[in-house]
């Protein structure tokens, strides 16, 4: 449980710090929103670059797991739990 809390804290910090940075791109004055459209779109593309990279890693991992650990894979082995009352 402690490890999970630690992992959660690290993930939180990684997410929150860049987010605070992004927030200030908006500016204080409502009239500035349109003036800052270039910055906003730049942020959008940066975020999409991150999202696609992370997405590719997670989706790639899932696809590999699905392919590698399917029961019809010749390398598939019974798990340690099969036949037990887990």
């Amino acid at each position: 449980m402690k490890r999970m809390v630690g992992l959660f804290l690290v993930l939180s910090v990684l997410v929150v710090i860049p987010a605070l940075d992004l927030a200030f791109a908006q500016g204080d004055e409502p009239g500035e929103y349109l003036d800052r459209r270039v910055i906003i779109w730049n942020l959008f593309f940066r975020m999409m670059a991150v999202a696609f990279t992370v997405g590719a890693v997670v989706a790639g991992t899932m696809m590999w797991i699905v392919w590698r650990f399917r029961e019809s894979n010749p390398k598939a082995k019974p798990t340690a739990y099969e036949g037990t009352d887990w």
Binding site: L7, V15, A19, I40, L43, F44, I65, F69, R70, T79
Partner: protein, 512 residues
């Protein structure tokens, strides 16, 4: 064991029963009926948007008012009459079994909670209100025609009471009726998800109940809470609505994740990787759900500080959601995965959950929210959650519980065809809608100018919707045919996974 069609009983016996599996069956059939009804309305919307209203092409839906009525009832139906009752169906079937109790804590209350749904649904469907599922004031107060709007308000009021009664029952059943030998740390994650969901409902729904009353008295001219002409503030309604309905997002998604926690270990043939992190993430998401309602309202003139707080509050959901995804991936790792229909739906749901979450992070960053606000991006984002994650997990779980409910097996090939078509259709509709939003198309529009990019993307989305429609016809045929004529299931292990299926509950849970 419930073998409803193998040993048919008079229908009134089921209708007036208070046993948890009978109530579960009623919830199940009701929710599926509304899935098809609400889905049909979605198809009507997509057919209307296939072409812009260029002269000579004609229209599928007569006028904008009818279009508004259709998408209002579409949203209301699929959220309140499909997703939530489906979670109640699963909870009714499995929670007493999981906590090893003979029934729900309050069986009669359970039946009352279910029987509040049909009149509420009748009010929503017979009225056919036009003010969106959000009941947008001041339009809903000064312009929306009655009695449709009033019927919708009363319908939602009844559904809210039903949800609260059901939630109280789940909380008491799980916390007070679980077997004395069973600690709270041994309660399965599906039951945990329903416990957390129920607490959210009990805390969040009263705020919307108050807002509905205020809306009704505003409509009657007795008050002016949200009516600017009487000094009221429509933004106040936004706060009350989203204080309930952002947590409601988690009310919808947490049971779906709980269902995945049931399917993925079974079909991977190994226990969940980290039970504790699953519980931790559920509780954390419940807390976070109350700290992020303002992100729906960034464009309403909130202060910079308020927006920053809500943005950070929203982003706090990311690590907790990621914990669930990592938990699923780690569980499948080193497993021996059988890709029967339930597992295909669950894995597809996880993939789309991640995609929907990534889109949500973009929305959450408030400078970017202004670029996507009220555009089709938002439509794509939340539909990827409700269809891609919640409906996928729910349908997967329906295949999983099918042998338990009917004693027969569904047709596996049809189940897989259903999944493949739905997966492709979902990606075509909702990924395209994200891009359509970036091209500037506003949401909730009856018509759009003939911009070539908009036309092409709307047509891709509409084709995707039709593919989903075809898959749902296969699904319906499979369910009806297999319920009566499917092969008899080996109810000890219907999917051939080895080990015990569901829970060794029968001897411990005799009918009362």
């Amino acid at each position: 064991m419930v073998l409803e069609l193998q040993k048919p009983r008079p229908i009134w016996q089921i209708m007036f029963s208070t046993h948890h599996t009978d109530i579960g069956l009623l919830y199940l059939i009701t929710s599926l009926a509304f899935l098809f009804l609400g889905g049909s309305l979605a198809l009507a919307i997509r057919i209307e948007l296939f072409f812009p209203n260029i002269e000579g092409t004609g229209q599928f839906i007569a006028d904008s008012m009818t279009f508004n009525r259709i998408f209002t009832v579409h949203g209301t139906t699929l959220i309140f009459l499909f997703i939530i009752p489906f979670a109640s169906a699963v909870g009714n079937y499995f929670v007493p079994i999981m906590v090893r109790y003979k029934d729900m804590a309050y069986p009669k209350l359970n039946a009352i909670a279910f029987w509040m749904i049909p009149p509420a649904a009748a009010l929503v469907w017979l009225g056919f209100a036009d003010f969106t599922w959000y009941a947008q004031p001041p339009y809903s107060i000064i312009s929306s025609p009655g009695p449709a709007a009033d019927m919708w308000i009363f319908g939602l009021k009844i559904l809210g009471i039903s949800s609260v009664l059901g939630a109280i029952n789940f909380v008491v059943t799980i916390l007070k009726c679980k077997h004395p030998d069973m600690s709270i740390g041994q309660v399965p994650l599906l039951a945990w998800s329903l416990l957390v969901t129920s607490v959210i409902i009990i805390v969040a729904i009263p705020t919307f109940a108050a807002a509905l009353l205020m809306l009704l008295t505003d409509r009657l001219g007795l008050s002016g809470f949200f009516n600017p002409a009487m000094g009221g503030d429509p933004i106040a309604y936004s706060h009350l609505f989203w204080f309930t309905f952002h947590p409601e997002v988690y009310v919808l998604v947490l049971p779906a994740i709980g269902m995945m926690y049931e399917i993925i270990p079974r079909f991977s043939r190994k226990p969940i990787y980290s039970y504790n992190s699953g519980v931790f993430a559920f509780v954390l998401l419940a807390l976070v759900s109350f700290s992020s309602w303002g992100h729906h309202m960034f464009a309403t003139g909130m202060s910079f500080t308020e927006k920053t707080v809500f943005m950070v509050g929203t982003l706090a959901a990311v690590p907790a959601s990621a914990m669930h995804v990592f938990n699923f991936i780690a569980t499948m790792w080193n497993g021996r995965i059988k890709f029967s229909s339930p597992m295909m739906w669950a894995v597809g749901g996880i993939a789309l959950f991640f995609a929907a979450g990534a889109g949500g992070v973009v929305n959450t960053a408030m400078p970017l929210d202004f670029a996507t606000h009220d555009s089709y991006w938002v439509v794509g984002h939340f539909h990827l959650f409700v269809m891609g994650t919640i409906a996928f997990a729910s349908i997967g779980f329906l295949y999983y519980m099918f042998p338990y409910v009917t004693g027969r097996m569904y047709n596996e090939a049809w189940g897989k065809a259903h999944f493949v078509l739905s997966f492709v259709g979902t990606i075509l509709v909702f990924f395209t809608q994200h891009v359509l939003g970036l091209y500037g198309m506003p949401r909730r529009v009856f018509d759009y100018p003939p911009i070539p990019e908009w036309i092409v993307m709307n047509q891709i989305a509409s084709v995707g919707a039709m593919i989903i429609g075809v898959s749902m016809v296969i699904f319906l045929a499979n369910m009806i045919y297999s319920s009566g004529k499917g092969e008899l299931a080996n109810t000890d292990d219907p999917f051939g996974l080895g080990g015990k299926y569901y829970y060794p509950f029968e001897a411990k849970n005799p009918h009362h």
